[in-house]
């Protein structure tokens, strides 16, 4: 059983999705337990796999016993074991939250929603675990196709947003596919590690074909991760979709794509190629500086909570892309740590937004008037998430920013450090505005607001247990990941140090 753990991470949600599609339509009560079972197995298998990776090092899992490069394999090392654990945990917590939200928002499609949900998680976990570049494309499309449908189940505007996401997402995935094609022309292989071996063995790093492949793959991945200015699909998709959808996709999709970028740079193309030979660090770090600032300022202009959070995701993508392209070991460690920290802090604030939306039915910031007295526990959970996004110790967000800033200083990219600090300040303004509205209660009622006022007085009460529980767990995890940051970073450093990134530059 333990030998099979990498495959179980994937297969548990996948098989239960099939089971759910068969059984769930007539028996709606079955859906929620099945989803929880599948994802709980997946989380347990991820924990086992992570333990094994720490003990034994890289794990190869061969499907059908075929050796790569001919067979398909999963290859798990320190990087993807951590990301897989984060992905499965986030999807389990979101599933717990969905117990009440899904029947409320998509009442006639509960079993379809959960089937797609599990398939989407399968796709995301597959992207993280696979060792095959073409399978990665198929898994990107699996997670993308299901997320178009998951978003499209929302309001009128959501369908249009899902359509735009479909167009953009297809362009991104197609560029990635083309890039893989060019890699295949030169190396004759699709296995990520074999591609790297072939590139080294045949001394292909100077080849223009490899350069074209790299550009196509990077552009494709940037579209999929909503790297500014390729972000246009994201805000509306995550605002108007059902709240469970945004809570699942918001924390995961962009982070998983950043994982793909790191995997491509470090494992497939090698850092010497991406950082030393191309010498694009400066340009891309500047692009990420613009991304961080533009997205943070756009977030300030939003009046809807979900949309504001969506722009924060885009800013965070800027953090991580910049952190990787600092071409500094500390920067990459910070980016990988930030993938995990950001998955949980985005989850935390999106859970909060979902709770507010279910309780008040509104998305605007003024919906939060006086919530501290009415929903104290929810607000505590939100505070931890907000503090983490701002970067207040001891939350995980503080430590990830700490590592990123260290990377920025040691590689001499002070513009990146400045952008991080400005963005933290803007986050502070954003969240203290919400805290002010929620704490200092009601503004004077506007015009005919008297009726609403009364409605709201006894309106929202503390969220139900199934919604509160994941929020508080996430908040606890944020503090936990923050306090134990050295342990997490030790695993990441172990992985990154094999590439000698700082050394090659000097």
């Amino acid at each position: 059983m333990i030998d099979q753990s990498p495959a179980i991470i994937l297969l548990a949600p996948f098989l239960l999705a099939i089971l759910l599609a068969l059984l769930g339509i007539k028996r709606e009560w079955l859906c929620f337990p099945l989803v929880i079972t599948g994802l709980a197995i997946s989380v347990a298998a991820s924990v086992v796999t992570l333990m094994r990776v720490i003990d034994e090092g890289t794990i190869q899992y061969l499907f059908g016993g075929w050796e790569p490069p001919f067979g398909i394999n999963l290859r798990v090392d320190g990087l993807n074991a951590l990301v897989a654990l984060a992905v499965s945990t986030v999807s389990l917590l979101t599933a717990i939250y969905s117990k009440r939200a899904v029947p409320a928002e998509t009442s006639d499609k509960v079993s379809q929603f959960y089937t797609l949900y599990l398939l989407s998680v399968t796709g995301l976990l597959g992207i993280v675990l696979t060792g095959d570049a073409f399978n990665l494309y198929v898994l990107i499309e699996i997670s993308a196709l299901t997320s178009y449908a998951l978003i499209g189940m929302g309001s009128k505007r959501a369908t249009l947003a899902a359509y735009k996401y479909l167009i953009m997402g297809t362009i991104g995935a197609s560029f990635y596919l083309l890039g893989v094609g060019y890699l295949y022309i030169k190396t004759g292989s699709l296995n990520m590690y074999d591609i790297q071996e072939q590139i080294v063995a045949n001394d292909l790093l100077g080849s223009p074909t490899i350069l074209v492949a790299f550009i196509l793959i990077m552009v494709g991945v940037w579209i999929k991760m909503a790297f500014f200015p390729l972000h246009a699909w994201l805000p509306n998709s995550y605002t108007f979709g059902p709240s469970t959808t945004s809570t699942l996709l918001g924390p995961l999709v962009t982070k998983v794509m950043i994982y793909v970028m790191i995997r491509m740079i470090l494992t497939v193309f090698s850092p010497e190629f991406a950082f030393d030979q191309l010498d694009w660090s400066n340009i891309i770090v500047w692009m990420s500086v613009i991304a961080i600032l533009a997205a943070s300022i756009s977030a300030l202009a939003q009046t809807s909570l979900q949309k504001m959070l969506a722009f924060l995701i885009i800013a965070e993508v800027g953090y991580m892309v910049g952190g990787v392209w600092l071409a500094d070991e500390m920067g990459i460690v910070g980016s990988i740590y930030h993938i995990i920290a950001d998955a949980f802090m985005t989850l935390c604030v999106f859970l909060f937004a979902g709770i507010i939306f279910t309780k008040t039915g509104r998305r605007d910031l003024s919906a939060m008037e006086g919530l501290f007295t009415k929903m104290p526990l929810t607000m505590v959970g939100f505070l931890v998430g907000a503090f983490s996004l701002i970067g207040i110790p001891p939350t995980a967000g503080f430590f990830s920013k700490w590592y990123l800033i260290q990377g920025g200083i040691s590689s001499g990219h002070y513009e990146y450090v400045a952008a991080l600090l400005i963005s933290s300040l803007i986050n502070a303004v954003l969240f203290f505005r919400i805290i002010e509205i929620a704490y200092f209660g009601t503004k004077p009622a506007e015009g005919h607001g008297h009726h609403h006022e009364e409605e709201r007085k006894d309106g929202p009460t503390e969220a139900s247990f199934s919604m509160l529980f994941p929020l508080l767990i996430t908040a606890a995890l944020l503090i936990g990941i923050g306090l134990y940051n050295q342990e997490v970073v030790a695993i990441i450093t172990d992985f990154v140090s094999q590439f000698n990134i700082g050394a090659t530059i000097l």
């Binding site: 073409f134 494309y137 198929v138 499309e141 196709l145 178009y148 449908a149 499209g152 009128k156 505007r157 369908t159 249009l160 899902a162 359509y163 479909l166 167009i167 297809t170 362009i171 197609s174 596919l177 083309l178 094609g181 295949y184 022309i185 699709l190």
Partner: protein, 157 residues
């Protein structure tokens, strides 16, 4: 003349880029949501053409071995061998492979073609989801022209 040669030598690749750009243009600039999806299909088909072109070699054939290539000695005695089984010596898999004389250059590379089967399936699925979304948009907004939809959103505010 040189230009012509360069064009004809890599004809498939020129065409794939042109088709891809036509698709991309339609996806970006068309106003009608169905036309955008048609553009998307063209875009994906161009990539399929690219992959199929990778696998082709000059003067190649389909990568399938015929029976007499694998069992040259048996050739016509196929039926007799079937009736009198046990007496005839059946060569093991390793022996067959060792006796084969196959020039890889004679066969098209099947791998990119097989990959494209998957990509075609993905493309069909994407198109299906896209059309389903378009249908829902039409039901919600009463139009599939992007500018009319955006106007109706604006006026609803």
């Amino acid at each position: 003349m040189e230009l012509l040669e360069a064009l004809s030598a890599k004809f498939n690749y020129w065409i794939y880029v042109i088709i891809m750009m036509i698709g991309l243009y339609a996806m970006i600039s068309k106003n009608n949501l169905v036309k955008k999806l048609i553009g998307m299909s063209i875009f994906q088909t161009a990539i399929i053409l690219f992959y199929v072109s990778i696998g082709v070699k000059e003067g190649d054939t389909i990568p399938i071995l015929y029976h007499d290539q694998v069992h040259p000695s048996h050739g016509d005695s196929h039926h007799e061998a079937d009736t009198g089984h046990g007496e005839d010596h059946h060569p093991s898999h390793e022996e067959i492979v060792a006796n084969l004389h196959i020039e890889p250059d004679d066969f098209a590379n099947p791998l990119p073609h097989v990959l494209m089967l998957t990509a075609i399936v993905v493309g069909v699925a994407t198109l299906g989801v896209g059309l389903a979304l378009t249908q829902k948009i039409y039901r919600d907004f009463g139009s599939i022209e992007e500018n009319e939809i955006l106007e109706s959103i604006k006026s609803a505010k």
